[in-house]
């Protein structure tokens, strides 16, 4: 079971309560960013580019707990930066577990093995380990050779110590569905409870600005990837969100579904875009002109977005929003395999795209790259 019954029950009753109260906008998961500093510098990440005094700043446990209480979600995800670099992270996680929040502590797992003893296994706690694909793909995506092996060592250590472990895979243009499907097998072999997969977002501060998947290509990729599934693959995502990625369902963005709190305050409007900050959760909900966001708004920054943080809540909302949604979700449980001959053909005929070498670490595709950059200031070890 991808999500434990107790957690699914908590989420379902929370959503139904919001509906009964007549709340039009309610959050589902708090994205708590207690710090921005990280021990990796990934190509697709636009989160960590800040001056040193900002990277050194961090939220206190008390600030974290206040934010959690303010927005009241049943689930809290802790991205960053790398949360394990926060010296008081065990205290923050324990405080959230004590409040019976389902916590996903997102980590690149470089430090997971050595810090594991600081945490206690609990049904409320999952380590959500960021692994972007098979060894070479992951290493190239995170711009660090050997990163995959360390992360998987962390995964195995956490599984062995009795922790719930989920994974998080972000895909960019150039991702090969055959390889990602092998990657799913490897993750399940390592004993993870469930996996999350999402296309990357067009962060305008990310080092790589050329490999953001457009919606048309995302849909083909996810259809090839997620159709004809293996029974052993467990996904930590709503079936409706996965159908949306596969192009089987239209969803509109729910930008308030996963609000973000960081050292700057409540991020307007969503985890991905930074249009300023509110000091309170209520101010965030009241002040943002929500109709300016989402693909349907025409906002160019939302145009290609199909990201989990914008659409997972839409999937959950769809399930509980009408009988139709409920029936569609029930069907998805029975039709978990998504048998699809056309998708099988799409997968078999898949051609690697020629947009560059983001994940082709084994193949020196540097035609474009070698022609560029006379002003390189990239810090590479040993340079």
């Amino acid at each position: 079971m991808a999500v434990p019954v107790a957690q699914a029950w908590t989420v379902a009753t929370y959503v139904l309560k919001q509906k009964l109260k007549g709340r039009k906008r309610y959050p589902l998961v708090l994205m708590l960013e207690p710090l921005f500093r990280c021990n990796l510098a990934c190509a697709g990440c636009g989160k960590i580019q800040y001056p040193a005094h900002i990277l050194k700043a961090e939220l206190t446990p008390e600030e974290c707990f206040r934010a959690v209480e303010e927005c009241g979600t049943p689930m809290v995800s802790i991205p960053g930066g790398e949360p394990l670099l926060h010296p008081r992270m065990p205290e923050i996680v324990q405080g959230l577990v004590d409040r019976k929040k389902y916590v996903y502590m997102c980590t690149n797992a470089l430090l997971l093995k050595e810090k594991l003893h600081l945490f206690k296994p609990s049904k409320y706690l999952s380590f959500s380990v960021h692994v972007d694909g098979e060894r070479e793909h992951h290493d190239f995506g995170v711009c660090r050779e050997g990163g995959y092996d360390i992360a998987m060592e962390g995964v195995r250590a956490a599984v062995a110590a009795g922790f719930r472990v989920t994974t998080n895979t972000t895909l960019f243009d150039g991702a090969d569905p055959h390889s990602v499907r092998r990657h799913f097998d490897q993750l399940m072999d390592a004993g993870v409870d469930s996996m999350m997969v999402s296309p990357g977002y067009t962060y305008d501060k990310a080092p790589d600005q050329k490999h953001f998947l457009g919606r048309a290509r995302s849909r083909r990729l996810f259809r090839a990837l997620l159709s004809n599934r293996k029974k052993r693959w467990q996904f930590n995502a709503s079936p409706m969100f996965l159908e949306f990625l596969m192009g089987k369902r239209e969803l509109t963005c729910t930008p308030w579904g996963m609000p973000t709190f960081s050292i700057f305050g409540w991020q307007k409007p969503c985890y991905l875009l930074q249009d300023g900050y509110a000091d309170t959760f209520q101010e965030l909900m009241d002040e943002v002109e929500w109709s300016n966001y989402g693909t349907e708004s025409g906002n160019p920054r939302c145009a290609n977005c199909m990201v989990h943080s914008g659409y997972e809540a839409s999937g959950v909302n769809y399930t509980f929003g009408s009988l139709k949604g409920f029936v569609a979700t029930a069907k998805a449980f029975f039709n978990w395999q998504y048998k699809d001959d056309d998708a099988a053909k799409l997968l078999n005929d898949w051609q690697p795209t020629s947009h560059g070498p983001l994940v082709q670490i084994g193949t020196p595709v540097i035609s474009k790259a070698s022609a560029i950059e006379n002003h390189d200031t990239t810090a590479v070890v040993g340079s």
């Binding site: 500093r37 005094h53 919606r215 920054r301 990239t378 810090a379 590479v380």
Partner: protein
């Protein structure tokens, strides 16, 4: 809110493609703002420059009409109807950690993009190029390291 100029690649792409037909989504071209001292001669110039300062991932220095020079990171701004009721929110780079200040646009006499743009000069293409050079030279454990903070 990024300016239209900053988002022009995405806007252009959307002029001949719908979001649903996009194969690869346009990114953003880098603007070289480091060291820029914009003229704040008109209201429009002031607004545009502070919008870019809000988007900038480095510290800036504000010279206030009082004569005070304030260096820090602009993490928020609120656009009002006039410059008096528009303000930037800044975290000073020195002094007690995260003591924020709100400065009305009307009190800003000069703006300097004085700090290094932390999102610039680390392009992916540069990493790829270096990677293959290092690989060809037989090096191991190649990586991009996050910057040292001390």
């Amino acid at each position: 809110m990024a300016t239209e100029q900053q988002e022009h690649l995405k806007i252009e792409q959307l002029q001949h493609e719908t979001p649903d037909t996009q194969e690869v989504a346009a990114g953003r071209e880098r603007e070289n703002l480091e060291g820029w001292i914009p003229a704040l001669a008109t209201d429009a110039e002031t607004r545009e420059a502070l919008e870019k300062a809000f988007d900038y991932r480095g510290d800036v220095t504000l010279t206030l009409r009082s004569g005070e020079a304030l260096e820090g990171y602009i993490f928020d701004r609120k656009q009002g109807r006039s410059l008096t009721d528009s303000l930037v929110r800044i975290i000073p780079s020195k002094g007690e950690q995260r003591t924020r200040r709100s400065i009305p646009y009307s009190e800003i006499a000069a703006l300097n993009f004085s700090g290094r743009d932390t999102a610039a000069g680390r392009t992916f293409e540069a990493w790829v190029k270096k990677y293959w050079e290092k690989k060809a030279a037989g090096e191991k454990n190649i990586q991009i390291e996050p910057e040292k903070l001390d």
